[in-house]
Amino acid sequence: MSEFFLNAILMIFLAFIAIMAIRQNRLFGVVMLSGAYSLVAATWFVVADAVDVAFTEAAVGAGVSTVLALGTLSLVGVEEKKRPIEPFALVIALGTGLLLLLAVLDMPSYGLATTPVQLHVGPHYLLESEREIGVPNVVTSVLASYRGFDTFGETVVVFTAAIGVFLIIGGWTRAARSGQETPPVNEKRSNHPQEKSDA
């Protein structure tokens, strides 16, 4: 019962922060609220016994992505442009939300033992990983060993995404290297006195 109240409080908190973030038109506040949202979401993951996910959410969502978003803000400005609400977009957003809510109604209730998720390979992981892998944290043995291919793919995705970002906004291209454009990432320039000011 107490867990129900805890869940309810956290959910209300999440909804509250989300609405605040939508209503806020100063982007600095929005970034801070999204960090707070991640922190509350991480708390909720702990309540739902997904400690590894909570860890990731707290470190990435509340930590690094907030810093990166602040860095972006200092590039694009802190005020949101005022725009009138477009009825077409509103209809699409509300319709998608409604469909998602309907889909949630079809899902099995949380923690139900007879769902395919719990019956397929889950029992094998939980029962046999101590003997087969010998690692106490089953999440690690699933991620790194049973699902090693997936994690390899994820690492390659992170790698590819980073390379893409560096090429698009980092200016780590051949043109920038040869000095045709003022390269944003260039150690030669960083000696310039004005460049010492940072984020």
Partner: protein, 159 residues
């Protein structure tokens, strides 16, 4: 932010512990929550904090951008290399059991190596992203100052 002694001292004290915690999460991931991904982000946070408080130049000095790029690739190579080694020693790709004397020992070694690869890639990607954003920012500032100077010069020329 460089001038605030409280922030400087506190981050100086805190940064080693953040890094230590990152390493703990990395190598304790077999036993508790955490693993390569979380550890990489925490480890990167120490470098990002260092760069924010003590300046981008010092931050780049600690982990140069070229080394960041190499580390990103090295992590993926470490992961894939573990798979290839297990392929060459008689198993299938990423079958760690053949890496050690016993199945469990092989699994431990394999998991350690691939988690290290994930951690290395994630940490250097995060630091690299931060460097990219921050240097774009200082580039913009530099260009703004430069343009302002140009403007004032042209105004002076007009007058």
């Amino acid at each position: 932010m460089h001038d605030d002694p409280v922030i400087r001292v506190v981050s100086k004290v805190l940064i080693p512990f953040v890094m230590l915690f990152g390493l703990y999460v990395q190598f304790h991931g077999d036993y508790g929550p955490g693993g390569g991904f979380q550890a990489g982000v925490i480890f990167a946070a120490a470098f990002i904090l260092n760069a924010i408080v003590f300046g981008m130049n010092k931050g780049r000095h600690v982990w140069p951008p070229r080394l960041v790029l190499q580390c990103i690739a090295l992590g993926v190579v470490l992961y894939g290399g573990t798979g290839l080694v297990s392929l060459l020693t008689g198993g299938v790709f990423l079958e760690y059991s053949v890496l050690g004397k016993t199945q469990v020992a092989g699994q431990h070694l394999g998991i350690l190596l691939v988690e290290l690869g994930v951690g290395l890639t994630v940490a250097s990607v995060m630091v690299g992203l931060f460097f990219t954003f921050a240097s774009r920012l200082s580039h913009r500032r530099f260009m703004k100052i430069h343009n302002d100077e140009e403007d004032s010069r042209t105004e002076r020329a007009k007058a």
